[in-house]
Symmetry: C2
Subunit: 318 residues, 2 copies
């Protein structure tokens, strides 16, 4: 099958073996897949992954040990877990110590005509959610992981740094909380898009009081220092960015200001699908361009340009 493969150096379209589902796994024909910043960080060395990239997708089940899944449209949780380790048995399957992660760790991803995932990872997509919107289930779930981990109060002052692909979804989720929200980004187009939706957005952080909660969605190390400077004492700084490399941090300042840092990754798919089905989060306008899989390399290049929003790959026809 055709696949977009990272060999440790470059990403290119290659002929690649069709995945062979392991016991308990389903075979999914990919309809659309989305390009995430993590894909670009993998190309910079993050996670050391080699293989088919991609972890945001919607697809059709062609084969599954759960026969009711066959022929159905699905999205899929990206962490395949063992079910036996201490993390799995503690109810933390996304932290399984043996996990593979679609297109990120030990498992070929979604930038291919077919992928395989454990059948229990798949979720049916409600009829009313169109294909291109369903691709956002995974990143929207990642945004919802914040409100799953941290109690964001409607009376909180919340700052989202970065209104890119993930930051916009985080902003839309925070908007629903009713909190006193401001989104900061350097890109005027991103800001205008948010402002049209009634979300206060600004090129610079608002003057005056610090925020109760700051979410760093900048996707780069410098975002941390800015985020840190904008959170109030005893406030919470949520880290959503993964990137390659280390960062110099003044931990004593975290102690003195008693700041809480919360790392946040993959989130709840059912809640994400509910928000999409209820049309509470508008995702289609976040799509910047569509590319066929055959133009995958060009799509990756375009997605890495500054200010570009979600780029989707059209992989097979529904």
């Amino acid at each position: 099958v055709q696949a977009l493969v990272f060999d440790g150096r470059v990403v290119r379209l290659r002929e690649w073996p069709k995945p062979t589902p392991q016991p308990g796994e389903a075979l999914v024909r990919v309809l659309y897949a989305g390009i995430c910043n993590t894909d670009q960080e993998i190309m910079r060395g993050y996670s050391g992954f080699r293989g088919v990239l991609g972890h945001e997708f919607v697809g059709m089940v062609e084969d599954s040990p759960q026969s009711e899944q066959v022929g159905r449209r699905v999205v899929g949780e990206i962490n395949a877990y063992c079910g036996e380790c201490v993390n799995c048995l503690s109810g933390l399957p996304t932290h399984c110590s043996q996990r593979t992660v679609l297109g990120i760790r030990g498992r070929d991803g979604a930038f291919a005509e077919y992928l395989s995932l454990p059948a229990i990872n798949l979720h049916f997509v409600p009829e009313s959610i169109e294909d291109k919107a369903a691709v956002f289930t995974e990143p929207l779930a990642a945004a919802l992981e914040i409100t799953d981990q941290v109690h964001i109060r409607p009376s909180d002052r919340v700052l989202v740094l970065g209104a890119g692909k993930l930051g916009s979804l985080v902003a839309l989720v925070m908007h629903l909380v009713g909190c006193d929200l401001c989104v900061v980004d350097r890109n005027g187009r991103n800001l205008a898009w948010l402002a049209e939706r009634g979300i206060p957005a600004s090129l610079t952080p608002p003057e005056g009081s610090l925020a109760d909660v700051v979410v760093d969605c900048t996707g780069n190390p410098s975002g941390f220092q800015t985020a840190r400077s904008l959170v109030r004492p005893r406030g919470t700084l949520v880290l959503k960015s993964t990137y390659h490399g280390m960062l110099e941090v003044n931990l004593s300042q975290l102690v003195v200001d008693e700041v809480t840092l919360v790392g946040s990754r993959c989130g709840p798919f059912p809640a994400s699908l509910r928000l999409l089905e209820r049309d509470l989060v508008e995702v289609l306008p976040l799509i910047d361009r569509l590319y066929p899989l055959s133009d995958g390399s060009a799509a990756m290049d375009y997605a890495s340009e500054k200010g570009v929003r979600k780029v989707l790959l059209e992989i097979t026809e529904n």
Copy 2:
């Protein structure tokens, strides 16, 4: 008056002006004061403080705008706050943006015959708590700040790294929670002391499963990496150490493991006095040596040696 003063280079005993209480402030004659790691970090450049060191003390009120305080034995909260800034008005006086901190920031400390603090910072010491135990009110409050900030469950597996001055108090507090506790330290004498009190203590972290909560009381930057490696996914790492300098941190790993970092500083004096009064936390055996204030420089030297526990200064007679 005699005072132990840090001039930016060395600490030495000097003749120093008797403090002049400002409006709202009380004048306290210091009976005993305790040497804390923070005092040593200040000498390495932490906080940039110059003046009389010391923030752990018990003393007698000689003058106060609250007349009922005069002649009473007190301990004192170390943060003097404005009561008007956004942090004060949010109920976070220890984070007052204008604060001075006894012997740490903009206010001469307790290694002197007299100190001044706002009268509202003072707490009467119950009769049954002897002078030398009362000096521990401040560091014990700092240990209690952990359970004030983080919900430590009796069913949690908790690891305390470092059984020095603060770490021992943290261990004693965690012991009361009933959690599955282990304390790790390189000093056999510290471990033996804890083991005698029924607190599991070890030279190396226990093998096997990671901890739900790890408290870093090592007081040095390398402690962070160890602490980080011992906390489970979605677990909590509490930072109690303040030291001079920056640290290289892999923030992406915090994101991937969804770890929560909590900076923790000054804690609740009333709760600390309750534990001391109820004799639930045994502090007197933590005292290593007593020095008269006139031998203050020698006391500071001795306190900085490895494995030395709490050193107290005897300042004036009760």
